[in-house]
Amino acid sequence: MQKVIPPRLLVPYLQGKRTVISGYVYRVQDCLRLTTPRLLYEALDLGFEGSQLTADVPELYLLRWYARDSDGYAVPYGPHMGGDWHDSPPFAGNGFTSSRGHVVPQFHTMPMPIPAGAEIYRVDEDGEHLYAIYDGLTWRPAR
């Protein structure tokens, strides 16, 4: 699974002050083509109100982990799909992000502890660079 870290949360994560993952998350296999910050921004609805990210952000940070059987991921279906999820735009409510250029299934998690072995990647125009690894309590810089 993966999620783009909002810039304001990067330091709290790395300092161990934010210990949960929450909100919309995506499967890594559905994001293989999203190799640049611009593609991630466009495909994952990162222009939501209050977002500090823009389409031309030079780099962003991705949190990545393996789904565990104790995790609870929901598909946030809106009323037109028989669900009860609502959110501010961009929100499609059809099980996918609102992007027309990319088809990305969307999932949601309530706050859950960051899995041990989770990784943070820095993504720029050149691709992904492993940045830090979580030991279950502390983030360590990748070597």
Partner: protein, 140 residues
């Protein structure tokens, strides 16, 4: 050092007669135990000790989290600080969350810090996570 007590939302595990704060991952069967003091087999990290075990080596494993209600809607308590309780909206309506005073701290995640007395019906949930295949299969 980092506070290893499970505050708000975290795993706790029982291993060889001791109860430890824990993390699960990278796979579902992998559990990392933490201790504030040295224990046999644990390796030292920055101010704490850790040991990676398999889930079926544990006596038990549970997810501990604190739930409550704010403005009549369910919430999760993430942390307590001097300003009050840091809570997360636990419903399915982001528009409603914003109307209640939450703000979107992460995409799809609504949170706010409120005075403690404004959060009602607080209770700690302990959700058992099966440690052995037989338990996961309902004992059959």
């Amino acid at each position: 050092m980092t506070d290893v007590e499970p505050v708000g939302c975290g795993y706790v595990a029982r291993y060889r007669g001791h109860t430890h704060p824990a993390a699960v991952g990278p796979d579902s069967d992998d559990v990392v135990l933490f201790s504030e003091e040295p224990r046999e087999g644990f390796e030292q990290a920055d101010g704490y000790w850790r040991l990676a075990v398999r889930r079926d080596e544990l006596e038990w494993l549970m997810l501990v989290r604190t739930v409550g209600a704010f403005a009549g809607e369910p919430c999760l308590v993430l942390d307590e600080d001097t300003d009050g309780l840091h809570i997360a909206y636990a419903g399915h309506n982001g528009t409603q969350a914003e109307a209640l005073g939450y703000w979107m701290v992460d995409h799809g995640a609504y949170e706010v810090v409120v005075p403690r007395e404004e959060v009602t019906s607080i209770r700690v949930e302990r959700i058992p996570i099966p440690c052995r295949p037989a338990e996961a299969a309902g004992g059959s």
